[in-house]
């Protein structure tokens, strides 16, 4: 399925991927009583978050990698256009790591779990990171760094 005005959009794949992510979050919420916020789970899995290291969070992280491997083996490979520059990757990673801990969540925790819960805090967070993401891409494109 495609939209005439946006020939690159993958409507059906996007929707299926989203339904799977939603199902994953619902399983975790109703099964274990917790939020699938990946930045928070990574911090708890590695012991970066205060408190005891969380073994089941580590299992989630490892299964996340396994799920991507399985999907790619069965239905893929799915296209991945990574930035060439390690500097770009490292800079992005550093800021994402710091920012998600400071803001208490990322696309999964605030975006999927928080917004669907109609949490005003998560809606504010999501609007903020979406806005700054859009701004960053715009500024980079205007500066001639668009394609990376």
């Amino acid at each position: 399925m495609s939209i005439a005005a946006f020939p690159h959009a993958m409507v059906l794949q996007g929707l299926i991927g989203g339904l799977l992510i939603g199902a994953a979050s619902a399983v975790f919420l109703l099964g274990s009583g917790r939020i699938t916020g990946v930045s928070g789970l990574l911090a708890r899995a590695t012991g970066i978050a205060p408190g005891k290291r969380d073994g089941s969070a580590m299992l989630f992280i490892l299964a996340l990698i396994g799920g991507a491997a399985l999907a790619n083996a069965i239905a893929g490979p799915f296209k991945q256009g990574f930035p060439e520059s390690w500097l770009v990757l490292a800079l992005g990673g550093l800021i994402v790591g710091y920012g998600t801990r400071m803001g208490g969540g990322c696309t999964s925790g605030h975006g999927v779990c928080g917004m669907s819960r109609l949490s005003p805090r998560s809606i504010a967070a999501t609007l903020t990171f979406m806005g700054f993401g859009i701004l960053t891409v715009l500024v980079m494109r205007l500066a001639g760094l668009g394609g990376l």
Binding site: L19, A24, S32, L94, V96, R101, G133
Partner: protein, 136 residues
């Protein structure tokens, strides 16, 4: 049960990220490029996820405890402060620079190991920096 739930959820999550195009940084950046050649795919990813999670919260409200027998351990902060907005702004900038957020970056360790590892290692360094050095 705790462990089985974590593994099942992680597998579904990783598959969903791959199929939905979230693990393609070029596509993520095209989604954020609303003033350029906009690619709306990720709006359908978010829509699909909310379509399932909305009803899941309605079910959760009627449950006393989770299926594994433990109580619900959910965020209960309602404060919108500078930490939340500043952190989210930073996250958005990093997301825009590299086209990766935490979930897809980790999932990409399966398929694009070297560049994903560079990002994830730096992301963990950023988390450590927040924890131990520069806590605002």
């Amino acid at each position: 049960m705790h462990r089985i739930v974590a593994i099942l959820s992680g597998l579904l999550f990783g598959a969903g990220l791959s199929i939905g195009g979230m693990t393609d940084p070029a596509r993520v950046r095209a989604f954020l490029d609303i003033f350029g050649a906009w690619d709306p795919t990720l709006a359908f990813v978010m829509g699909g996820a909310l379509l399932v999670m909305g009803p899941a919260w309605l079910v959760q409200r009627r449950m006393d405890r989770a299926f594994d027998g433990t109580g619900f351990d959910l965020p209960d902060t309602r404060i919108i402060d500078r930490r939340l907005l500043g952190g989210s702004a930073l996250f958005g900038i990093g997301w825009g620079i590299a086209g990766l957020c935490p979930g897809p970056a980790i999932a990409s360790l399966a398929t694009a190991f070297v560049p994903a590892l560079v990002f994830v290692a730096a992301m963990i360094a950023g988390m450590l920096l927040h924890r131990f050095a520069l806590k605002p």
